[in-house]
């Protein structure tokens, strides 16, 4: 394993990312607002009031701008941003009907949590109101309070207070959204997850090349495309980034030395590791669910085969033995099986094999399939790209029913699906708008959102 000195950019990145938020459940002195009874054991016996919609319909939520408690422009801007982001975050999971924000003008803005005009919100047809407040408590610190009110009773069913940096106001909204989904729907939201992908947006060219060749660097962004940041500065081809399960390392394939090899970028430390040591061609790695191992493609024995190793490069083991191409692995959530692509039957198709290399079976028999991505539990399905006409579409193979459903339908070419950690969404790349961009879509094919717009962007991976 080789270690490198941190680059200034990575250090900056680490510092920005370190500006996380200290959050705690806040129980105000006024008893009725408290969510859980005092002294209650965690989890199980906690009493949670969940909001319901009319006659089984989805509850209707309104999220106005947060209340500005300190009269400065930064706080006002953050208060607006947090409201907008929180609305988007709640809309993303489609668990609630989100009352459009442009209809809120008829409701007078509240000056404090105690003066919310519930009757006016009720007139808008809202069941729940998410109200927040922002207070600047220091040159670079915010105190943010978020409450969820049952509009019919005017009672707060959730109250949270966060103290943290002013660097990233969106993170307060993301955190509150995840807590609301967790408390109201027992759902792990995606609001604080991230994407990583490869992009040529910088327009840099590989020097000395025979023909013009665009540099592709690794980027990260929030799940909604905000805070896009570059991770690599190699002026080379970098592809197939993938998050370690703990979200602290990105493994990717880089051609920076003239051939592909695996690099692990510890993004918060700003260090780089090369577990495969740069001797052979290695690319397209996938983390085991426990983050301890990587499966990857290598030609060290003559042709493309799959190998498994510990993340430090030790305990290398060959998984496939076939003169055909074997590549593009993905682990089952339990870590006991690996799905991959092989053209041993003539065309690229998806196969599944035990991690020990036994019990091989063929999953697909279509014209051309690639990039299997195993869903997280509780779903048990594999998303992949399948040739349909001149391009590719995203399909999902349900391993329980053996049914295949299609998520995209020929809008450009759609490739490289990756599941969100809750299994409810996928990120993929598409040429539907001309250049290749990253999109997210629900596992039911609904709720398409464009994440990137600069340059071409490809091979996304969603953090765990």
């Amino acid at each position: 394993m080789m270690r490198y000195r941190p680059t200034p950019l990575l250090l900056t990145l680490a510092l920005v990312a370190a500006a996380t938020i200290a959050a705690r459940a806040w129980r105000p002195e006024t008893g009725p607002l408290s969510v859980a009874p005092q002294g209650a054991p965690p989890q199980q016996s906690e009493i949670v009031l969940s909001l319901n919609g009319e006659r089984g319909a989805k509850p209707r939520y309104a999220v106005p701008d947060f209340i500005v408690l300190t009269p400065d422009a930064e706080t006002a801007e953050a208060a607006h941003l947090m409201g907008a982001v929180l609305w988007d975050d709640l809309a993303f999971e489609r668990e609630f009907y989100m009352v459009p924000r442009d209809t809120y003008r008829s409701v007078p803005a509240a000056a404090s949590m105690q003066s919310i005009p519930f009757s006016r919100w009720r007139e808008l047809g809202a069941d729940g109101l998410v109200m927040g407040s922002v207070q600047k408590t220091g040159p670079q610190s915010f105190r943010v309070e978020v409450r969820l009110f049952d509009i019919r009773s005017g009672r707060s069913v959730m109250a949270k207070q966060y103290d943290g940096s002013t660097a990233n106001p969106r993170l307060y909204a993301h955190t509150a959204a995840d807590e609301i989904h967790q408390q109201q729907r027992a759902l792990r939201g995606a609001a604080r997850t991230k994407l990583t992908f490869s992009s040529d947006r910088d327009g840099d060219r590989i020097s000395g090349a025979v023909v013009e060749r665009a540099v592709k660097e690794i980027y990260i962004s929030d799940y909604d495309g905000a805070n896009q940041r570059r991770v690599t500065v190699t002026r080379a081809l970098n592809l197939y980034p993938t998050w370690s399960p703990d979200g602290r390392t990105i493994a990717y394939s880089s051609w920076r030395t003239g051939f592909p090899d695996l690099y692990l970028s510890l993004i918060y430390q700003g260090t780089l590791e090369r577990p495969t040591g740069g001797q052979y061609q290695n690319w397209l790695s996938a983390w085991s669910p426990d983050g301890r191992r990587l499966c990857f493609t290598s030609t060290r024995d003559g042709n493309s085969e799959l190998y498994v190793m510990d993340r430090d490069g030790s305990n290398l083991r060959r998984l496939t033995m076939n003169p055909a191409i074997d590549t593009t692995p993905t682990w089952s959530p339990s870590g006991t099986q690996i799905a991959f692509v092989s053209d041993r039957g003539g065309t690229p198709q998806i196969y599944i094999v035990d991690v020990e290399g036994l019990n091989l079976r063929k999953l697909t028999s279509e014209s051309y399939c690639d990039r299997p991505t195993w869903s997280p539990a509780p779903f048990n399905e594999i998303a992949y790209e399948s040739r349909t006409g001149s391009g590719y579409d995203i399909k999902v193979f349900d391993l329980v029913s053996n049914a295949v459903r299609q998520l995209t339908f020929g809008e450009g070419s759609n490739e490289s699906p990756s599941f969100a950690p809750n299994g409810r969404h996928l990120a993929f790349s598409s040429t539907r708008g001309g250049k290749r961009q990253i999109f997210t879509i629900g596992r039911d094919g609904q709720g398409l959102k464009q994440v990137t717009s600069a340059g071409n962007n490809q091979t996304p991976d969603w953090s765990r």
């Binding site: 000395g208 051609w255 051939f259 690319w283 493609t297 030609t299 493309s304 690229p348």
Partner: protein, 197 residues
């Protein structure tokens, strides 16, 4: 005895290269992008050596070999970047989703092998490329397979394996960015880059 034999065979090889070079010169289809207009002597290395110099000459003419190697050889005197911009090594093209060498591919590789024999210090990288119709992931492996096929053929022609590196760029670096059959055909290729000389 053995050293003489080796010298003898080296000379034979040199002569056969010259001879094939002379033959190649007569054939119009051989691509010659490497000879820019400014270069004074189009004759370069081949012309001073008329073809009728077979075996008998070998023993008595040791000075024959050196001249073509160094003196005013435009290829030998140019730096690597310039060489790669107008590479003397021909690209090899492949059928759709295939890595097998066609007859045309073998012919191009035969020519490339001749050049590599002539410049024995050159180290090259064979880049495998694919057209945009495959997926990024599978093409990364397919390009590798294509480069490996070209390399294996060059090795079978006697080029030392350690002079031939390979790499796949999948569909990431198309030679022709257009989206049509002609562009795809140009993009399914092995491209040769000189990395040391």
């Amino acid at each position: 005895m053995t050293s003489r034999l080796i010298r003898c065979s080296v000379l034979m090889v040199a002569v056969s290269v010259l001879a094939s070079g002379a033959c190649a010169k007569k054939k119009p289809p051989v691509a010659r992008p490497m000879a820019p207009a400014a270069v004074p002597a189009p004759a370069v290395d081949v012309v001073p050596m008329p073809p009728p110099a077979p075996a008998p000459l070998t023993v008595t003419e040791p000075p024959v070999a050196p001249p073509p190697r160094v003196i005013d050889d435009p290829l030998a005197s140019r730096n690597i970047d310039d060489l790669n911009k107008e590479t003397p090594l021909q690209p090899v093209f492949y059928d759709y989703d295939r890595a097998e060498l066609t007859q045309a591919a073998r012919t191009a590789l035969d020519t490339n092998a001749g050049i590599l024999r002539k410049y024995p210090t050159w180290v090259i990288t064979v880049e495998g490329h694919c057209d945009e119709r495959g997926t990024a992931e599978y093409n990364s492996a397919l390009g590798e397979r294509r480069a490996a096929a070209a390399r294996a053929y060059l090795v079978s022609l006697g080029i030392a394996a350690d002079r031939l590196h390979i790499v796949s760029y999948g569909k990431e670096f198309p030679f022709d960015p257009a989206h049509n059959e002609a562009a795809w055909a140009r993009n399914r290729r092995a491209h040769f880059v000189i990395t040391a000389k």
